[in-house]
Amino acid sequence: MAAEHTIDALGQFELGPVLGPIGASVGFSQSNLMMVIAAVLILGLLTVGMSAKAVVPGRLQAMAEMLYDFVHNMCIEQIGEEGKKFFPFVFTLFSFILLGNLLGLLPFSFTYTSHIAVTFGLAAIVIVLVTVVALAIHGLHFFSYFFPAGAPIALSPLIVTVEIISYLSRPVSLSIRLFANMVAGHVMFEVFASFIVMMAGAGLVGYLGGVGPLALNVVLMGFELLVACLQAYVFAVLTCIYLHDAVHLH
Protein backbone atom coordinates (compact mmCIF):
# COMPACT_ATOMS: atom_id res chain seq x y z
CA MET A 1 0.00 0.00 0.00
CA ALA A 2 1.19 3.53 -0.75
CA ALA A 3 2.91 5.33 2.08
CA GLU A 4 0.53 8.34 1.99
CA HIS A 5 -2.32 6.08 3.10
CA THR A 6 -1.23 5.92 6.72
CA ILE A 7 -4.04 6.29 9.23
CA ASP A 8 -3.82 9.36 11.46
CA ALA A 9 -5.52 7.74 14.44
CA LEU A 10 -4.33 10.05 17.20
CA GLY A 11 -4.83 13.38 15.40
CA GLN A 12 -8.39 13.62 16.74
CA PHE A 13 -7.11 14.05 20.30
CA GLU A 14 -5.01 17.12 19.56
CA LEU A 15 -6.00 20.24 21.43
CA GLY A 16 -6.51 23.55 19.72
CA PRO A 17 -7.84 26.92 20.81
CA VAL A 18 -11.53 27.72 20.32
CA LEU A 19 -13.60 30.95 20.48
CA GLY A 20 -11.21 32.91 18.26
CA PRO A 21 -8.38 35.13 19.52
CA ILE A 22 -9.80 35.49 23.04
CA GLY A 23 -9.78 31.73 23.51
CA ALA A 24 -6.30 31.46 22.03
CA SER A 25 -4.87 34.07 24.38
CA VAL A 26 -6.14 32.31 27.52
CA GLY A 27 -5.50 28.79 26.17
CA PHE A 28 -9.18 27.81 26.10
CA SER A 29 -9.23 24.50 24.20
CA GLN A 30 -12.01 22.22 22.89
CA SER A 31 -11.53 20.13 26.01
CA ASN A 32 -12.40 23.09 28.25
CA LEU A 33 -15.33 24.01 26.04
CA MET A 34 -16.78 20.49 26.28
CA MET A 35 -16.32 20.51 30.06
CA VAL A 36 -18.29 23.76 30.30
CA ILE A 37 -21.01 22.33 28.03
CA ALA A 38 -21.20 19.16 30.14
CA ALA A 39 -21.48 21.13 33.38
CA VAL A 40 -24.19 23.37 31.90
CA LEU A 41 -26.11 20.32 30.64
CA ILE A 42 -26.03 18.58 34.03
CA LEU A 43 -27.07 21.72 35.90
CA GLY A 44 -29.74 22.41 33.27
CA LEU A 45 -31.12 18.88 33.52
CA LEU A 46 -31.34 19.08 37.30
CA THR A 47 -32.79 22.60 37.51
CA VAL A 48 -35.20 22.45 34.59
CA GLY A 49 -36.10 18.82 35.23
CA MET A 50 -36.88 19.33 38.90
CA SER A 51 -38.61 22.72 38.56
CA ALA A 52 -41.98 21.04 37.90
CA LYS A 53 -41.88 18.95 41.12
CA ALA A 54 -44.76 16.85 39.78
CA VAL A 55 -45.90 13.74 41.65
CA VAL A 56 -46.12 11.93 38.33
CA PRO A 57 -42.84 12.99 36.68
CA GLY A 58 -42.52 14.07 33.06
CA ARG A 59 -39.66 12.88 30.87
CA LEU A 60 -37.01 15.33 32.06
CA GLN A 61 -37.99 14.99 35.71
CA ALA A 62 -37.98 11.19 35.45
CA MET A 63 -34.50 11.34 33.93
CA ALA A 64 -33.18 13.59 36.68
CA GLU A 65 -34.79 11.46 39.38
CA MET A 66 -33.47 8.21 37.92
CA LEU A 67 -29.95 9.60 37.72
CA TYR A 68 -30.18 10.80 41.32
CA ASP A 69 -31.72 7.56 42.57
CA PHE A 70 -29.18 5.40 40.78
CA VAL A 71 -26.16 7.13 42.30
CA HIS A 72 -27.85 7.39 45.70
CA ASN A 73 -28.52 3.63 45.80
CA MET A 74 -25.00 2.91 44.64
CA CYS A 75 -23.53 5.02 47.46
CA ILE A 76 -25.66 3.36 50.14
CA GLU A 77 -25.12 -0.17 48.82
CA GLN A 78 -21.36 0.16 48.54
CA ILE A 79 -20.42 2.42 51.45
CA GLY A 80 -23.27 1.84 53.88
CA GLU A 81 -25.26 4.47 55.78
CA GLU A 82 -22.23 6.80 55.85
CA GLY A 83 -22.46 6.84 52.05
CA LYS A 84 -25.02 9.65 52.18
CA LYS A 85 -22.27 12.06 53.17
CA PHE A 86 -20.27 11.24 50.05
CA PHE A 87 -23.25 11.25 47.71
CA PRO A 88 -22.71 14.79 46.32
CA PHE A 89 -19.10 13.99 45.46
CA VAL A 90 -19.89 10.67 43.77
CA PHE A 91 -22.84 12.19 41.91
CA THR A 92 -20.68 15.03 40.56
CA LEU A 93 -17.98 12.62 39.50
CA PHE A 94 -20.40 10.20 37.85
CA SER A 95 -22.39 12.78 35.92
CA PHE A 96 -19.28 14.68 34.79
CA ILE A 97 -17.62 11.53 33.43
CA LEU A 98 -20.85 10.18 31.92
CA LEU A 99 -21.55 13.43 30.08
CA GLY A 100 -17.93 13.64 28.93
CA ASN A 101 -18.03 10.12 27.50
CA LEU A 102 -21.41 10.58 25.85
CA LEU A 103 -20.74 14.06 24.41
CA GLY A 104 -17.53 12.73 22.91
CA LEU A 105 -19.54 10.34 20.74
CA LEU A 106 -21.25 13.20 18.89
CA PRO A 107 -19.65 14.06 15.55
CA PHE A 108 -17.24 17.05 15.58
CA SER A 109 -17.12 17.09 19.37
CA PHE A 110 -14.24 16.28 21.66
CA THR A 111 -13.90 13.68 24.41
CA TYR A 112 -12.25 15.31 27.40
CA THR A 113 -12.05 11.96 29.21
CA SER A 114 -9.68 10.77 26.49
CA HIS A 115 -6.84 12.80 28.01
CA ILE A 116 -4.81 11.23 30.79
CA ALA A 117 -4.34 14.68 32.34
CA VAL A 118 -8.09 14.95 32.94
CA THR A 119 -8.69 11.39 34.14
CA PHE A 120 -5.62 11.37 36.34
CA GLY A 121 -6.73 14.68 37.82
CA LEU A 122 -10.08 13.12 38.73
CA ALA A 123 -8.42 9.98 40.11
CA ALA A 124 -6.01 12.09 42.16
CA ILE A 125 -8.94 13.96 43.72
CA VAL A 126 -10.50 10.60 44.62
CA ILE A 127 -7.39 9.12 46.16
CA VAL A 128 -6.54 12.26 48.15
CA LEU A 129 -10.12 12.40 49.45
CA VAL A 130 -10.05 8.72 50.41
CA THR A 131 -6.79 9.09 52.31
CA VAL A 132 -7.92 12.27 54.06
CA VAL A 133 -11.24 10.67 55.06
CA ALA A 134 -9.47 7.58 56.40
CA LEU A 135 -7.02 9.68 58.39
CA ALA A 136 -9.79 11.92 59.73
CA ILE A 137 -11.94 9.00 60.90
CA HIS A 138 -9.32 6.55 62.14
CA GLY A 139 -6.31 8.75 62.84
CA LEU A 140 -3.04 6.83 62.93
CA HIS A 141 -4.99 3.61 63.25
CA PHE A 142 -5.48 3.97 59.48
CA PHE A 143 -2.02 2.48 58.90
CA SER A 144 -3.25 -0.89 60.21
CA TYR A 145 -5.01 -1.04 56.85
CA PHE A 146 -1.71 -2.10 55.32
CA PHE A 147 -1.40 -5.13 57.60
CA PRO A 148 -4.55 -7.25 57.93
CA ALA A 149 -5.19 -8.61 61.43
CA GLY A 150 -4.31 -12.26 61.98
CA ALA A 151 -1.62 -12.47 59.30
CA PRO A 152 1.64 -14.11 60.45
CA ILE A 153 4.08 -11.45 61.63
CA ALA A 154 6.97 -13.10 59.77
CA LEU A 155 5.29 -12.23 56.49
CA SER A 156 4.85 -8.57 57.41
CA PRO A 157 7.58 -7.11 55.14
CA LEU A 158 6.02 -8.80 52.13
CA ILE A 159 2.40 -8.05 52.97
CA VAL A 160 2.99 -4.40 53.86
CA THR A 161 4.96 -3.80 50.66
CA VAL A 162 2.31 -5.41 48.51
CA GLU A 163 -0.51 -3.55 50.25
CA ILE A 164 1.22 -0.19 49.90
CA ILE A 165 1.94 -0.79 46.23
CA SER A 166 -1.64 -1.81 45.57
CA TYR A 167 -2.90 1.26 47.44
CA LEU A 168 -0.67 3.57 45.43
CA SER A 169 -1.52 1.93 42.11
CA ARG A 170 -5.23 2.67 42.59
CA PRO A 171 -5.22 6.16 41.03
CA VAL A 172 -3.04 4.91 38.17
CA SER A 173 -5.34 2.03 37.25
CA LEU A 174 -8.44 4.17 37.83
CA SER A 175 -7.28 6.88 35.44
CA ILE A 176 -5.71 4.64 32.80
CA ARG A 177 -8.84 2.48 32.63
CA LEU A 178 -11.10 5.39 31.71
CA PHE A 179 -8.61 7.10 29.43
CA ALA A 180 -7.59 3.92 27.58
CA ASN A 181 -11.21 2.88 27.05
CA MET A 182 -12.05 6.22 25.48
CA VAL A 183 -8.89 6.39 23.36
CA ALA A 184 -9.27 2.79 22.15
CA GLY A 185 -12.91 3.35 21.17
CA HIS A 186 -12.23 6.53 19.25
CA VAL A 187 -9.15 5.09 17.53
CA MET A 188 -11.28 2.15 16.35
CA PHE A 189 -13.83 4.59 14.88
CA GLU A 190 -11.04 6.42 13.10
CA VAL A 191 -9.45 3.25 11.73
CA PHE A 192 -12.70 1.85 10.34
CA ALA A 193 -13.68 5.25 8.94
CA SER A 194 -10.33 5.36 7.12
CA PHE A 195 -11.09 1.93 5.68
CA ILE A 196 -14.27 3.35 4.14
CA VAL A 197 -12.30 6.17 2.48
CA MET A 198 -9.61 3.76 1.23
CA MET A 199 -12.29 1.45 -0.19
CA ALA A 200 -13.98 4.36 -1.97
CA GLY A 201 -10.70 5.02 -3.75
CA ALA A 202 -10.93 1.59 -5.43
CA GLY A 203 -13.87 2.40 -7.72
CA LEU A 204 -17.28 0.74 -7.95
CA VAL A 205 -16.23 -2.46 -6.16
CA GLY A 206 -14.82 -0.27 -3.42
CA TYR A 207 -18.11 1.59 -3.01
CA LEU A 208 -19.89 -1.73 -2.41
CA GLY A 209 -17.10 -3.04 -0.19
CA GLY A 210 -17.12 0.15 1.87
CA VAL A 211 -20.49 -0.83 3.26
CA GLY A 212 -18.70 -3.39 5.45
CA PRO A 213 -16.63 -0.98 7.58
CA LEU A 214 -19.54 1.47 7.64
CA ALA A 215 -21.83 -1.18 9.13
CA LEU A 216 -19.08 -2.11 11.58
CA ASN A 217 -18.82 1.52 12.65
CA VAL A 218 -22.57 1.63 13.30
CA VAL A 219 -22.31 -1.46 15.50
CA LEU A 220 -19.27 0.03 17.18
CA MET A 221 -21.23 3.19 18.01
CA GLY A 222 -23.75 1.08 19.95
CA PHE A 223 -20.93 -0.65 21.76
CA GLU A 224 -19.28 2.66 22.57
CA LEU A 225 -22.53 3.97 24.05
CA LEU A 226 -22.48 0.95 26.38
CA VAL A 227 -18.81 1.52 27.22
CA ALA A 228 -19.40 5.22 27.91
CA CYS A 229 -22.05 4.45 30.53
CA LEU A 230 -20.17 1.43 31.87
CA GLN A 231 -16.92 3.31 32.43
CA ALA A 232 -18.66 6.16 34.23
CA TYR A 233 -20.38 3.53 36.41
CA VAL A 234 -17.12 1.67 37.07
CA PHE A 235 -15.30 4.87 38.02
CA ALA A 236 -18.08 5.78 40.44
CA VAL A 237 -18.36 2.26 41.90
CA LEU A 238 -14.61 2.01 42.46
CA THR A 239 -14.68 5.42 44.14
CA CYS A 240 -17.42 4.08 46.43
CA ILE A 241 -15.43 0.91 47.17
CA TYR A 242 -12.35 2.95 48.07
CA LEU A 243 -14.48 5.19 50.27
CA HIS A 244 -15.92 2.06 51.92
CA ASP A 245 -12.38 0.90 52.70
CA ALA A 246 -11.56 4.34 54.09
CA VAL A 247 -14.64 4.45 56.31
CA HIS A 248 -14.60 0.83 57.55
CA LEU A 249 -10.93 -0.23 57.13
CA HIS A 250 -11.44 -3.66 55.44
Binding site: A9, L10, S173, I176, R177, A180, A184, V234
Partner: protein, 74 residues
Protein backbone atom coordinates in the same frame (compact mmCIF):
# COMPACT_ATOMS: atom_id res chain seq x y z
CA UNK B 1 15.44 -4.71 10.19
CA UNK B 2 13.47 -1.69 9.13
CA UNK B 3 12.08 0.38 11.97
CA UNK B 4 8.56 0.37 10.52
CA UNK B 5 8.54 -3.41 10.27
CA UNK B 6 9.89 -3.74 13.80
CA UNK B 7 7.16 -1.40 15.03
CA UNK B 8 4.44 -3.46 13.40
CA UNK B 9 5.89 -6.67 14.87
CA UNK B 10 6.19 -5.11 18.31
CA UNK B 11 2.60 -3.90 18.27
CA UNK B 12 1.49 -7.38 17.25
CA UNK B 13 3.45 -9.00 20.05
CA UNK B 14 2.11 -6.47 22.58
CA UNK B 15 -1.48 -7.55 22.02
CA UNK B 16 -0.77 -11.24 22.77
CA UNK B 17 -1.91 -10.28 26.28
CA UNK B 18 -5.44 -10.16 24.90
CA UNK B 19 -5.50 -13.98 24.93
CA UNK B 20 -5.44 -13.97 28.72
CA UNK B 21 -8.07 -11.25 28.85
CA UNK B 22 -10.31 -13.27 26.54
CA UNK B 23 -10.07 -16.25 28.87
CA UNK B 24 -10.76 -14.01 31.87
CA UNK B 25 -13.84 -12.34 30.39
CA UNK B 26 -15.17 -15.69 29.22
CA UNK B 27 -14.73 -17.04 32.74
CA UNK B 28 -16.55 -14.08 34.29
CA UNK B 29 -19.56 -14.35 32.04
CA UNK B 30 -19.74 -18.14 32.21
CA UNK B 31 -19.89 -17.99 36.00
CA UNK B 32 -22.37 -15.10 35.76
CA UNK B 33 -24.67 -17.17 33.54
CA UNK B 34 -24.41 -20.28 35.68
CA UNK B 35 -25.01 -18.38 38.92
CA UNK B 36 -28.07 -16.64 37.48
CA UNK B 37 -29.32 -20.00 36.20
CA UNK B 38 -28.96 -21.51 39.67
CA UNK B 39 -30.57 -18.63 41.51
CA UNK B 40 -32.49 -16.25 39.22
CA UNK B 41 -33.59 -14.08 42.15
CA UNK B 42 -29.97 -13.04 42.78
CA UNK B 43 -29.71 -11.62 39.27
CA UNK B 44 -29.62 -7.94 40.19
CA UNK B 45 -26.83 -8.26 42.75
CA UNK B 46 -24.76 -10.69 40.70
CA UNK B 47 -25.10 -8.66 37.52
CA UNK B 48 -23.46 -5.60 39.05
CA UNK B 49 -20.57 -7.68 40.33
CA UNK B 50 -20.17 -9.34 36.94
CA UNK B 51 -20.04 -6.02 35.13
CA UNK B 52 -17.50 -4.72 37.62
CA UNK B 53 -15.31 -7.79 37.07
CA UNK B 54 -15.69 -7.38 33.33
CA UNK B 55 -14.54 -3.76 33.49
CA UNK B 56 -11.56 -4.61 35.69
CA UNK B 57 -10.50 -7.40 33.32
CA UNK B 58 -11.07 -5.28 30.26
CA UNK B 59 -8.73 -2.68 31.72
CA UNK B 60 -5.86 -5.17 31.37
CA UNK B 61 -6.71 -5.54 27.69
CA UNK B 62 -6.64 -1.79 27.32
CA UNK B 63 -3.22 -1.52 28.94
CA UNK B 64 -1.90 -3.90 26.28
CA UNK B 65 -3.76 -2.05 23.53
CA UNK B 66 -2.35 1.24 24.77
CA UNK B 67 1.21 -0.10 24.55
CA UNK B 68 0.44 -1.28 21.01
CA UNK B 69 -0.84 2.19 20.08
CA UNK B 70 2.20 3.82 21.64
CA UNK B 71 4.49 1.59 19.59
CA UNK B 72 2.53 2.13 16.38
CA UNK B 73 1.75 5.83 16.44
CA UNK B 74 4.60 7.53 18.29
Amino acid sequence: MEVAAAKALGAGIAVIALAGVGIGIGNIFSSLVSSVARNPSARDQVFGLGILGFALTEAVALFALLIAFLILFT
